[in-house]
Symmetry: C2
Subunit: 322 residues, 2 copies
């Protein structure tokens, strides 16, 4: 079992790699090699199998060729590399190059292997918005209101069509905002949705650029990693004629999430939140949807979060402790 | 008023050019130049304004550059060039090159003009299918079951996103099958949906590869041309946050359409239809949807067909007479 993770140096890529290392197996077979690629060389992972860490630009055709020639073929590919929401909105051409062309190039490389590999694709709930009902239910028209969301939706169409053609065996997951994200703020417009918890629990100030009534659709890192692994394990055919689904999540207001943090970590962190509105961030995140109906994904065995209190506890256990 | 029609040598492109010539004006201004491009040089059009006819491959970057450098900027662009359904299904890479990259390249050239031109984009009802309800209503998730449909849907996402960004002023129309199409059969899987009327009324045999109970969503050439012009004339902002709509059409079974032909043109043509099933064609067209609810497009001033009898009459007047 040879596995590739693009964006393997990123937040989810690193957590996924550690989870794979911990279980040692995938799809009923022992993992023998895991390749992590990212723009810079991904951090090391302790694992009972070979781990290759490569700096490689996914949007560059010759880098992709080298990657597959030197390290392919892969049985399972997790495609996580992306220019995230804030950056893709600021630089349309960069988003197109990486999120659209990079994704197509990766899927073409997977197709060229000839083994129709399992491809788990990280889409985003940012594919929803605009003229779609509230709450979002399964089967509504994707109407992204960011370039990031539009590019993710284009990748979904490619994934489903190339699966239908038998080129690959795709599974597309529309991720809720994953919170609490450890480490540094990033270029995602949703960055504050982790910072206001992560940074304040670690004694630092953090700004919330939206009102506390803002509602978001979110999931914990532990939950999303379980769901990524389930997506790789399941029978792709069970997804039917549309390989992409809304992952389960929870809807909470920023205010309710702060209350959950206070319940778990005490009253101090919340006092470190500043409240300066940012119209650029607001314009992006107001185009997203906070309310989503749980449906198809649950029937297909994906799991949902029970509370944001859990997310706070898991952050303290998994990330602060590390 | 400078206008570009890509695919200007094709069926709809030629009819649209003649309609523009007949009205002489668009969006309240006199038309001064119409550029028709296609793989081969488009046929001549009589018009009260300059008509430029160019052989130019839209999927080739330097051809696009020459087109815009020599003949741009355009105020209105009708984007009709495409690799049609049967051909895009048979050759995935060709479809991606023309329908995805060619479309993106054209939209980028329109953006580079700096004047946010009106872009009317020919999408297709083939964006619908798979896990979508029957009948199709406005707002259901696009779930194309052909590569052609997937590529058209990707173009829709680009059009809406680039309109949101202010790069262009897009209007995307999901065309029903346009019948009766004059001329020769083409590589569209829907080709027979015109041939069995067109060819038999002209004394020739024609094969119907599906059962006569097959239901299709169709519109007449006259209707679709009216709707293309309305799309260019209307305020793009009225489309809201999703620039793409299901055009109105009619649902009839092949059997009912044959009866309509018989009512207008007598019993002879129907006797020239042969009935050899074709599993390749069936696989494609069974992925399409015949039943669609009229909705948003009607509210926005687009028009629907009253009967297939009209379509037969208009074919005799517009195409046989020519
Ligand atoms: N974390 C979330 O809340 C969230 C929500 C929805 C969707 N997603 C999606 O999940 C995936 C992983 O998210 P994450 O939170 O780990 O993001 P991340 O930013 O931590 O990781 C993405 C990685 O992709 C890499 N990358 C960017 N361009 C690249 C290129 N040209 N070549 C190679 N690598 C490149 C980045 O360097 C980064 O390490 C992304 O596709 C993201 O869009 C995440
Ligand atoms: N006619 C229908 O029933 C129908 C239904 C749904 C959608 N559409 C769409 O409407 C548009 C026009 O349809 P039509 O029936 O006139 O089709 P058509 O085939 O008659 O015209 C399309 C034209 O595009 C040209 N073309 C193809 N590749 C090209 C390239 N690389 N560069 C430049 N030109 C290229 C072809 O030569 C052709 O003349 C198409 O986009 C089609 O997909 C048509």
């Amino acid at each position: 079992m040879h596995i590739l993770i693009t964006g393997g140096g990123g937040f989810i890529g690193q957590k996924l790699a550690r989870a794979l290392a911990a279980q040692g197996r995938l799809r009923g077979a022992e993992i023998s090699k895991l390749v992590l690629t990212d723009l810079g060389e991904p951090a090391a992972i302790e694992a009972p199998f070979e781990v290759v860490r490569l700096a490689s630009d996914l949007s560059d055709g010759s880098s992709r060729e080298t990657l597959f020639a030197d390290h392919g073929p892969f049985d399972v590919i997790f495609h996580l590399a992306a220019v995230v929401s804030g950056a893709a909105e600021a630089d349309f051409d960069l988003g197109i190059r990486v999120n659209l062309f990079g994704t197509l190039g990766l899927f073409e490389a997977a197709r060229a292997q000839g083994n129709a590999p399992v491809v788990v694709y990280a889409s985003s709930m940012a594919v929803h918005g605009g003229m779609a009902p509230d709450p979002i239910v399964d089967g509504v028209e994707l109407n992204p209101q960011t370039s990031y969301g539009a590019q993710k939706a284009m990748g979904e169409l490619l994934l489903t069509d190339m699966s239908r053609k038998g080129f690959l065996d795709g599974r597309g997951l529309r991720l809720p905002t994953v919170s609490i994200r450890p480490g540094k703020p990033n270029a995602a417009a949703s960055s504050f949705m982790s910072s206001i918890f992560r940074d304040t629990m670690q004694g630092n100030l953090s700004n919330c650029p939206v009102d506390e009534s803002y509602e978001l659709w979110h999931t914990a890192p532990r939950t999303v990693i379980r769901n990524f692994i389930h997506a790789a394990e399941m029978d792709g055919g069970a997804l039917g004629e549309n390989r992409c689904i809304n992952l389960p999540g929870r809807c909470d207001s920023i205010g309710a999430m702060i209350a959950a943090m206070t319940a778990v970590a005490g009253p101090e962190p919340a006092t470190r939140i500043t409240w300066d509105r940012d119209p650029v961030i607001e314009a992006i995140v107001n185009g997203w949807r906070g309310r989503v109906t749980l449906g198809r994904a649950i029937d297909l065995g994906f799991v949902a979060d029970d509370s944001f209190e859990d997310s706070v506890r898991w952050f303290l256990e998994d990330d602060i402790a590390r």
